[in-house]
């Protein structure tokens, strides 16, 4: 069975795709940091950040509709956290509502904060989408490992990404087997079946893990995971890093 996967467009060939994963990781982190520490009133700066992001997307040849769709994914999370902000900030009242017994008022400052939270989250997710869609996951992990992220973490992510599709297939097969024998029954019965499915899945994964480990041992694994570091910084990385820093610093100087 075929699944979509997070690095769907990572095989494209563009300037952004060709950059070293480490360059992309560092600049993405710096960008997010800059976005987060920018005061909410500096709207020109946010416009500048957005401009930078748009230029990068244009360079990366990613389809804009794909990027927009993926960036919408975070809104439920952000809104869930931020939706109460407008009600808890004092200041000039923008609107007042009576909800049953309570009187609730929303202030302008609070609305500004809400907008700020949403904008910051959106800009950050845009950059992460750019990073994850232009870098193959194994290159990204290789980059992280060369930047000093502990091997255990890299291994966990790498195995997770390798086997999540195998697991998804397994779930699909168990589900099909259940549905083809499902003749109704009440909800309590259904819950029981789901419990059994989860148990089966857990045992199968556990057994697979043992077989994978045996396969690793057979090929000389001795507890130390070693891969080849095959990343090389190119001239383009230096240019890009320099230009990125200059643009970021200039925007700060001009608009702050």
């Amino acid at each position: 069975m075929k699944h979509s996967f997070i690095d769907e467009y990572s095989h494209l060939n563009s300037f952004v795709h060709r950059l070293d994963p480490r360059t992309k990781l560092i600049t993405s982190l710096v960008f997010i940091l800059a976005v987060v520490i920018t005061p909410g009133s500096a709207w020109q700066l946010f416009a500048a950040y957005f401009g930078i992001a748009v230029i990068m997307f244009a360079l990366s040849k990613l389809p804009p509709s794909y990027v927009l769709k993926r960036s919408l994914v975070i809104f439920p999370f952000v809104l869930l956290i931020a939706v109460f902000i407008p009600f808890f900030k004092e200041g000039q009242v923008a609107g007042s509502y009576n909800i049953w017994l309570w009187q609730v008022s929303v202030t302008y400052t609070a609305l500004l904060i809400l907008a700020n939270v949403v904008v910051k989250a959106w800009l950050s997710i845009l950059v992460l989408i750019l990073l994850s869609s232009t870098t193959k996951l194994d290159d990204l992990l290789n980059g992280l490992s060369q930047l000093g992220v502990p091997r255990v973490m890299i291994l966990i992510v790498s195995f997770m990404y390798r086997y999540i599709f195998v697991l998804a297939d397994e779930v699909m097969r168990i589900k099909q087997a259940r549905d083809s024998r499902n003749f109704g029954g009440n909800w309590l019965h259904h819950i029981k079946t789901i419990g059994n499915m989860l148990g089966t899945l857990f045992i199968r994964s556990y057994e697979r893990a043992e077989r994978v480990y045996a396969a690793m041992l057979s090929r000389g694994f001795e507890g130390q995971m070693r891969t080849m570091h095959r990343l090389r910084f190119q001239q383009a990385d230096a240019y890009f890093g320099a230009i990125f820093s200059v643009v970021l610093v200039l925007s700060y100087v001009i608009w702050l």
């Binding site: 193959k136 390798r162 086997y163 599709f165 195998v166 697979r208 077989r211 057979s218 001795e222």
Partner: protein, 241 residues
Amino acid sequence: MVVSNIMDKIIEIKNLSFTYPDGHRGLAGVDLDISSGENVAVIGPNGAGKSTLLLHVNGILRSNGSVKICGLKMDEKNLKDIRRKVGLIFQDPEDQLFSLNVFDDVAFGPINMGLSENEVKQNVSRALGWVGMVGYEQRSPHHLSIGEKKRIAIATVLSVNPEILVIDEPTSNLDPRSKWSLVRLLNQLPITKVIATHDLELVRTLCQRTVVMDEGKIVADGTTESILADVQLLRAHGLAQ
């Protein structure tokens, strides 16, 4: 690949018994000698102990009996050498291929052997060449067909130049075309092979010698021709109707 003198005993197994932790008897007194250059099929019904036996050949499972590979006794000290000499290919390539791309998977063995970067690259491209999968280096395993996965799985052990290939069910889940192309591939590899399978067509094409197992014991051992002609024997052990 080096093929040493034909009559060297490359695998010597004496009185090997194994009981799984749950009390299930896997092997009950197995004796088996295999010479260098032989292609040996291990056939038998489900649960006969074929896979258990294969897992003993490179020390994934160990028990009281004696296993010698290329004259090396199976113990902690020789384990590393033995695993280098024995390439074990698992039945499910999803277990064998655990990396995010084909290159990393095929390079896993050579890197663990401590080869230099250039040697690793050479070994990887040579192994991929043997199985006809050059150009697949950057593909991720979950986007390959089963036939391709099986070939890559074979490349992952060929990349360390093993002296013995031990293969569990090489043709399971393959359609006839992929199956025969895999059989041709295995036939071309000049290396000792031990193949556990139910596929008697494969046995007939690939192996000169056949060992029949049932209930953890070896019940017959002889030329493939004589064993496959003995319908009564095959019937008694669930290998023919």
